[in-house]
Amino acid sequence: MSTDNQTSFTDIPEAVVSVAATDRSVSMVVDSELYPLQAVYGASYIFIDRCYVFIDRPEPGKYRVTLTAKESVEEAEALRQLVGEYANELLSCAWRHQVTQDNRVAIETVTVQAIAGAMGEPSLDDLADFDFTDEALDDPLGIAQSWEDKHGRKSPAEKEQAKAKVPEGEAAEATEAASTEEASA
């Protein structure tokens, strides 16, 4: 929470809250790097039975949470208690959020496997639409052909045959040319 604001609550370190003039509300500025927005929502939700909760963003990187008591507040102590409870709830929500993030993969794994298991075997309707054929894939763009076929290059076996047919000196030149071609490609 921000240290910029002044507070009348001397036991809250570093002046983290400001008290509105109505004496029924209290505002806190929360550092968004320390507390994710999800944690702010979570903590605020806990208070909606006792307070009206307003959340805004006074400046980048800060959330401001204003708690306005639904019933009149007799003493400043009651407001201080709200601040303390909110701060603890915010920390709890931030931590739970972190734990959830850390366990996300495990939770997804278990959930997906449970759902997949619960779904059981495909129905007959599902099976009717299913393509059971193992036929070769449709390839309108001609992707599934070897580079040598596509570019009309000879295989090593064909190269050997061709080399056997030409005189020795010419074969060496051809090999050198092929290597140069590959290196510069």
């Binding site: 295989s155 076996a157 590959e182």
Partner: protein
């Protein structure tokens, strides 16, 4: 892709049971042939691109993978997706209850229908090549007009619950363009982007000078790309993509050591080339750790350098890390009870030669243990040790033990551990040299037996004794009477305050100092008749410096005795392994030196101090893991 033909609306199903990044299922890699629709300059299989495996051959290998207990079949090549049998092989794999995976250039997966068909047949894993974030870079690398199709494939595959990795091979041509690939893949949060050093094999060997960047430069650019990618992912508030690296020595990647990625991190167990009769374990034999890597704390998971690279450039770019402690043991976790009624008596009856197979099992990491009629298979997944280290511990040093305790970590070896040795079944077996072997328990307390030699040395001490690393004082029964009789004057040194405090209570006869060996300060005139370094050698950060300080303090005729343990493997149940892996015990060893390693360190001091070896006990099968080296200083 420019295909504009009308297509039926495709339902994008998420692959059930598949989770991004889930890599628990063991994989078998099958090369279906080496033909390819691209012609990468660094192609591994440049010389064999005309060879294709037959349908029947690949069918048989898929069935064999299921028989071996693998959970996924991954097809590779060449390019497996250009084979017309692709859907048939996916169907066959699924029919055997296995998941299906592809190592591919991805072009055919630009067709959405192909992806749908394969996902319906349990496609769960794709390792796709993309070597640049633009047409210019990628197409230059693969010498084909392939970028659009490969990039479309990423789009088709992302978000489908697949384990999806995009591999970028780094050559001189793209080393300065890695951040472009990061930018191109940012929209796909479930992708793992891997940067791999080019291998000097096939085209990478033939065009070595043309392609091979210096590994130090590659590491620098990879760190920059990963750092950039991490930052962009955080700015976008996404959970990915994630970034990793492969085949780059870890000492060149400070801060990114844990991002290493290789066949083992992808849970590949075995692979098979076209024409091979059976599967072989995946290994790192195409890479090497240079001599200067000895004692590096990162050695376990570090890929080292490609052999071909090391031959040309040596290891001058490497910076071994000797300032970090490392593990001195690893676990073999129980995987399967292979037989409950095995009654074989000779190698001809052996399960490994009959059905289970000899070649598919890693000689270091797979462990078969026979106890009576039962045969169990264990597996070491540890990356604290390299494949070569694990092999040496298992076969050369014979340091395998069954953990019969119920503790997180055994602390009384004589009670807690039972040694495992090669079974008599293996005697005379023609497959002995290439087989992972059958092992059996040896019901003998090798620890107490071998420690008797140390006790014998201690009992013979006279005069001033320095015990560097005295620990909790395990030899009290021998040292206390000698000290109390005035036969020895004892100085014990140990960095552990609690151990020294406790010894001060128990050993009023001893002078005790709480300090590390490197920090020990002694009166300039202080001399000793005997220096002991008992099971503390591997705890010393700089043994050379300590010897340099202590040997001048040994009186002529005095001795230096070094005793320590080599690393060892523990066969454990799943519960034991899980408990041990949860343990927060800190590593304390800087090395796992053998007697030979210690002797190498002593060698430069030999002539200067007239060192003469007077006793040695080496480690081997059927000994404990403790060695002893004793020299006289003349």
């Amino acid at each position: 892709m420019s295909d504009t033909r009308p297509r039926p609306e495709l339902l994008r199903h998420r692959a059930p049971g598949a989770t991004p990044g889930s890599r628990t299922g063991t994989k078998a890699l099958i090369k279906v042939g080496y033909a390819c629709n691209e012609h990468c300059s660094f192609c591994h299989t440049l010389e064999v691109r005309h060879i294709q495996g037959s349908t029947a051959e690949v069918d048989g290998k898929i069935r064999r993978a299921a028989e071996l207990g693998h959970e996924m079949v991954v097809l590779s090549g060449g390019e497996p997706t250009i084979r017309p049998e692709l859907v048939h092989w996916a169907s066959l794999t699924a029919s055997l209850g296995l998941d299906f995976g592809l190592v591919t250039n991805g072009q055919m997966l630009a067709y959405p229908e192909v992806v749908e068909k394969l996902i319906a047949r349990r496609l769960r894993y794709v390792y796709l090549s993309l070597h640049g974030g633009t047409r210019k870079i990628h197409n230059l690398m693969v010498r084909s007009d392939a970028f659009d199709a490969a990039y479309k494939a990423v789009e088709n595959l992302s978000g489908r619950g697949l384990d999806l990795a995009v591999n970028c091979v780094i050559t001189r041509h793209n080393v300065e363009h890695l951040q472009g690939l990061v930018d191109a893949l940012l929209p796909y949060a479930d992708v793992e982007v891997k940067f791999s050093m080019v291998e000097p094999k096939g085209g990478g060997d033939k065009l070595f000078d043309h392609l091979m960047p210096r590994v130090e430069l590659v590491a620098k650019r990879v760190m920059e790309a990963i750092s950039y990618g991490d930052r962009r992912v955080a700015e976008l508030g996404q959970r990915g993509p994630t970034f990793s690296h492969g085949a780059i020595p870890l000492c060149l990647l400070p801060g990114y050591e844990d991002r290493f990625d290789d066949l083992k991190t992808h849970a590949y167990r075995t692979m098979i080339e076209v024409g091979e009769p059976d599967f072989f374990p995946v290994d790192d034999l195409n890479k090497t750790h240079a001599d200067r890597c000895h004692g590096c704390a990162l050695r376990g998971p570090c890929p080292g350098l490609y052999n071909g690279y090391h031959e040309v450039y040596g290891a001058t770019e490497l910076y071994p890390r000797r300032d970090r402690p490392r593990s001195n043991s690893y676990n073999y976790k129980l995987e399967k009870l292979v037989s409950l009624a095995f009654e074989g008596e000779t190698h001809d009856d052996c399960l490994l030669r009959r059905g289970v197979g000899v070649t598919p099992w890693d000689r270091g990491r797979d462990l078969f243990v026979r106890n009576g009629k039962r045969v169990a298979r264990f597996r070491a997944q540890s990356r604290d040790f390299s494949d070569r280290e694990i092999y040496a511990i298992k076969h050369d040093l014979g340091q395998l033990y069954l953990d019969v305790s119920r503790k997180d970590a055994p602390d009384d070896f004589a009670r807690d551990l039972v040694q495992l040795a090669r079974s008599p079944l293996c005697e005379g077996c023609p497959s002995f040299a290439e087989c992972t072997g059958m092992f059996e328990p040896v019901f003998e307390d090798v620890f107490t037996r071998d420690d008797a030699k140390v006790r014998e040395v201690l009992a013979s001490l006279r005069g001033e004794v320095l015990d560097l690393g005295c620990g909790e004082g395990p030899y009290e029964s021998i040292l206390a009477p000698l000290a109390e009789a005035g036969t020895i004057r004892y100085l014990g040194v140990d960095p552990h305050a609690a151990a020294i405090a406790e010894l001060r209570q128990r050993w009023p006869w001893a002078e005790l100092r709480c300090t590390g060996g490197e920090e020990l300060e002694l009166d300039p005139e202080r001399r000793f008749d005997h220096v002991l370094i008992l099971r503390a050698w591997n705890h010393l950060r700089e043994p050379e410096r300590i010897l340099d300080q202590l040997l001048p303090r040994v009186r002529p005729g005095g001795t230096l005795t070094i005793v320590d343990n080599v690393a060892f493997g523990l066969a454990r149940t799943r519960d034991q392994t899980q408990r041990a892996e949860r343990s927060r015990a800190q590593f304390e060893h800087y090395r796992n030196d053998s007697l030979a390693d210690a002797a190498r360190v002593l060698e430069p001091f030999g002539a200067r101090f007239g060192l003469a070896e007077i006793a040695r006990s080496t480690v081997g099968p059927r000994t404990s893991n403790q060695w002893l080296l004793r020299v006289r200083v003349s």
